[in-house]
C-alpha cells in the first residue's frame, strides 16, 4: 500500500486563520499523532496565506512529527473551499483543528458531523 493511497491513513483538517496558535497547535497535533492507530496521517490545510506560504505556520509541527509518515495537502482559503474539500474527501476525517476565531468554518464542520478543537 503506497503512502498516497487511502488505506491506513487518518485525515485531519487544519483551519489556520491569521492568528497563529504556536505551541498549542504543535501540542494538539502531537496528541493526535500519539493517539493515532493509523500508520500515516494526511493534513488538509485551509489557510488564507495561500500555497506554499501556509507552511510558515506548520514548520514546528512538521519538524516535530518524526515517528509517522504524513502528507500535507492545501485545501484553499475560504469557507467555500472547506465545504468543497469535505465533499471531495468524502468522510474519514478523524479530527479538525481551527486556529483563530472562524464561526463560518465551525458551522461547516458541525454540519458535517466532524469533531473540532478551537485554538488561539
Amino acid at each position: 500500500m503506497g503512502l498516497l493511497s487511502d488505506g491506513n491513513t487518518e485525515r485531519v483538517v487544519l483551519v489556520l486563520s491569521h492568528d497563529y496558535a504556536g505551541d498549542d497547535l504543535l501540542n494538539e497535533v502531537k496528541k493526535l499523532v500519539m493517539s493515532s492507530k493509523a500508520r500515516r496521517l494526511t493534513f488538509y490545510v485551509i489557510s488564507p496565506d495561500g500555497r506554499p506560504k501556509y507552511f510558515q505556520k506548520l514548520r514546528p509541527m512538521i519538524s516535530s512529527i518524526i515517528s509517522t509518515s504524513f502528507t500535507v495537502v492545501y485545501g484553499g482559503s475560504t469557507a467555500e473551499d472547506l465545504r468543497r474539500l469535505l465533499k471531495s474527501i468524502d468522510g474519514g476525517i478523524v479530527a479538525a483543528i481551527i486556529v483563530g476565531n472562524c464561526d463560518e468554518f465551525k458551522e461547516i464542520l458541525e454540519s458535517s458531523g466532524i469533531n473540532y478543537k478551537v485554538l488561539g
Binding site: 507552511f55 514548520r59 519538524s63 518524526i66 509518515s69 495537502v73
Partner: protein, 525 residues
C-alpha cells in the same frame, strides 16, 4: 558540392536522426552542477561547493569544486549522484520512461518531459558545513547560488511553462520549508522528505495522470524500504559510490539518519553495483554507509568476516582506489583492538601500488564526555561515553598508523553545550595534533530528535569557541599541506587542480592571520 558543404549536410542529417531516435523521457531526474559532478574524481573536493568562492572568480571555483561530467548523446551523465540513481532505477523498474539528465542538456528533452524531479544534499546551503561558511564569511555558498541559478534557468522555466510537474526531494528536502518564496517562484509542486523508494512510483504516477499531488510528503520510519525494495542502480554513480548499509544503530540525538531502521545490502547486490560503475569507466569504489565497519555486524560491534568478504569482493573486481564514506571512531578502535581488523583490511586488501591511503569521514562532534553522554550516548559503544575522548584518540592513532586519512567533523553549539565542554574539546584537539587528519568544525543544525531546537549562529560564539576553532584551523592547515604533498591529487592531469588547492591553502593561512585579531577582539568584547 564542396567537402565543407557535404560535411555540414552530413552533420545536419546525423543531428536530425539523432533527435528522432531520442527516447521520449517523460520523467527527467536532475540537479544543479554542484551535485552533478565527480569533483575531479576526488570526493573531498566536493566540499568546496559548500563554501563561497574565495580568492577565485565563481566560475573558476565551480570548475575546481564541481567540473562538468561526461554525458552521452542524450545528455545523460556517465556518473550521477547515487540518490538520483536509486530514484531512476525505481522508476525504470516500474516501467516509466525516466532518466537522469545533466542540467546543461534539459532542453533536449523539452518535447517529452512531463515531470521534472530535482534532488540535492543541500538545496539552500542550510546544512553543515555550508551554513557555517555562509555565517562566517557573510557570502552565499556556491551550492546555493548554483542551485538557485539552475532553477531560474531557461530550461527549467520552459519545462514548468509547458505544464510539467516539479518534484523535489533528498536529504535536504526540509530546507524548502524555510524558502517559501523560492518554492513559489520555482513552481515546485511536491516536496518529498525521507527515503523515497516506497513513495516515488505513486507520486510520479499521479503527476503523469494529472491527479492532485500533496504539497509535502514526509516518509516515516515505518515506510522506509526493506532491502528487497531498494533497487539496483542502472548507471554509474559519482566516484563509484555503492551503498553497503542504510541507517545507523547509534542513535545520536542530533542526527536524522538514526531515525531509520538498519539495513545491510547483500554482497551480490553490492558486487552488481560495483560492476556497473566499473563498466562505465569509473575508476574508484566508494563504499557508503554511516559506519562501513558495521557492515554485517552485530548491533554496534564490528564483525570481521563480512567486512573481509566485502573488501575481498571489491578487490576481486578492481585494483584501483577504494574509500569508505563514513566510519565511527568506536568501530575503528574496537575492530583493531579485538581483531587487528583495520591493519588486516588495509594491508591485505586496500593498500597496493595504486593506492597509498584510504579516505573516510568520521565524527568526533565533542571532546566532552558529559556532552557526549547527553547528546550521543551510543556513539562510543561498546565503550562507555565517559571514555569518549580516549576512544577518539586511540582511533586516530590506529588510522594514522594504517594510512587511513580521516576528514573529521566537530559540532559547535550542540544543545546543552557549556564553556567547559568546549574547553574539553580544545584539550582533545591538543592530543590529536600528532595524527594525520583534516578536522572541520560545524555549527549545530537542528536535525533528528533536535529538529525543533534553535540554530547555532555566530552571535553565540564565545572566546572558548574561537580558541577551539583556531586550534582546528592550525591542525587542518598543517595536515592538509602534508597530505597534499604526500598523497592527494598526485595525478599529472590534475596539476592545475593541485595548484589551485595549494594557492587556496596559502590564502586561508593569510586570511586567518588577518582575521585573528578582529575575531578575538569581537569575542572579548
Amino acid at each position: 558540392m564542396s567537402l565543407r558543404k557535404f560535411l555540414r549536410v552530413q552533420a545536419l542529417i546525423i543531428k536530425f536522426w539523432g533527435e528522432l531516435a531520442m527516447p521520449d523521457y517523460e520523467v527527467i531526474i536532475t540537479s544543479d552542477r554542484t551535485m552533478m559532478s565527480n569533483h575531479h574524481g576526488k570526493e573531498f573536493l566536493g566540499f568546496l561547493t559548500t563554501g563561497p568562492a574565495l580568492f577565485l572568480p565563481e566560475r573558476m571555483w565551480l570548475w575546481l569544486a564541481a567540473p562538468k561530467v561526461r554525458v552521452d548523446s542524450e545528455g545523460r551523465p556517465v556518473e550521477a549522484p547515487y540518490g538520483l540513481r536509486k530514484v531512476e532505477a525505481k522508476l525504470v523498474d516500474a516501467g516509466f520512461k525516466a532518466a537522469i539528465v545533466d542540467p546543461d542538456y534539459l532542453e533536449k528533452h523539452l518535447g517529452s518531459v512531463k515531470v521534472l524531479m530535482v534532488g540535492h544534499h543541500d538545496f539552500f546551503a542550510y546544512g553543515p558545513p555550508s551554513n557555517e561558511w555562509w555565517l562566517l564569511t557573510g557570502k552565499e555558498p556556491v551550492n546555493r547560488v548554483s542551485f538557485i541559478n539552475f532553477m531560474r534557468s531557461d530550461a527549467v522555466r520552459k519545462i514548468k511553462g509547458k505544464g510539467a510537474k516539479i518534484i523535489v526531494g533528498g536529504p535536504a528536502a526540509w530546507q524548502w520549508l524555510w524558502e517559501l518564496n523560492f518554492w513559489e517562484e520555482f513552481g515546485v509542486d511536491t516536496v518529498v522528505d525521507g527515503e523515497a523508494e516506497k513513495v516515488i512510483v505513486d507520486v510520479v504516477e499521479k503527476a503523469l495522470n494529472g491527479d492532485p499531488l500533496p504539497d509535502y510528503i514526509s516518509v516515516g520510519p515505518l515506510d522506509t524500504p526493506s532491502v528487497e525494495e531498494i533497487p539496483t542502480i542502472k548507471g554509474a554513480s559519482v566516484n563509484g559510490l555503492v551503498e553497503v548499509m542504510r541507517g545507523c544503530p547509534r542513535g545520536c540525538r542530533f542526527c536524522s539518519v538514526t531515525l531509520r531502521p538498519l539495513r545491510h545490502i547483500p554482497l551480490e547486490v553490492i558486487e552488481k553495483e560495483v560492476k556497473i560503475n566499473l563498466m562505465s569507466g569509473v575508476s574508484s569504489v566508494l563504499l557508503h554507509s554511516e559506519d562501513v565497519l558495521l557492515y554485517g555486524g552485530n548491533g554496534v560491534k564490528p564483525n570481521p568476516e563480512p567486512l573481509i568478504r566485502l573488501h575481498e569482493l571489491v578487490r576481486k573486481n578492481f585494483k584501483g582506489p577504494i574509500a569508505w564514506s563514513h566510519a565511527s571512531l568506536a568501530s575503528i578502535k574496537y575492530s583493531e583492538d579485538n581483531y587487528g581488523l583495520i591493519s588486516k583490511l588495509m594491508n591485505d586488501y586496500v593498500l597496493n601500488d595504486e593506492q597509498k591511503f584510504l579516505g573516510v569521514e568520521v565524527g568526533i562532534e565533542t571532546g566532552s564526555p558529559r556532552l557526549a553522554k547527553s547528546v550521543m550516548p551510543a556513539k562510543s559503544l561498546p565503550y562507555p561515553p565517559i571514555k569518549w575522548p580516549d576512544v577518539v584518540e586511540d582511533a586516530f592513532s590506529i588510522m594514522h598508523e594504517n594510512y587511513v586519512i580521516p576528514a573529521a567533523t566537530l559540532i559547535v553549539g550542540l544543545p546543552g553545550e557549556t564553556p567547559d565542554d568546549v574547553v574539553k574539546t580544545a584539550e582533545l584537539m591538543d592530543k590529536l595534533k600528532y595524527y594525520r587528519s583534516v578536522i572541520v568544525p560545524m555549527f549545530f543544525v537542528p536535525m533528528g530528535n533536535f529538529r525543533n531546537r534553535d540554530w547555532f549562529n555566530k552571535h553565540y560564539l564565545t572566546s572558548e569557541h574561537v580558541d577551539l576553532m583556531l586550534k582546528i584551523l592550525q591542525h587542518t592547515l598543517y595536515w592538509a599541506e602534508d597530505i597534499m604533498n604526500k598523497y592527494y591529487v598526485k595525478e599529472p592531469h590534475l596539476a592545475p587542480v593541485r595548484l589551485c588547492l595549494k594557492l587556496f591553502l596559502q590564502y586561508v593561512k593569510w586570511r586567518a592571520s588577518k582575521l585573528l585579531p578582529t575575531l578575538t577582539a569581537t569575542v572579548t568584547r
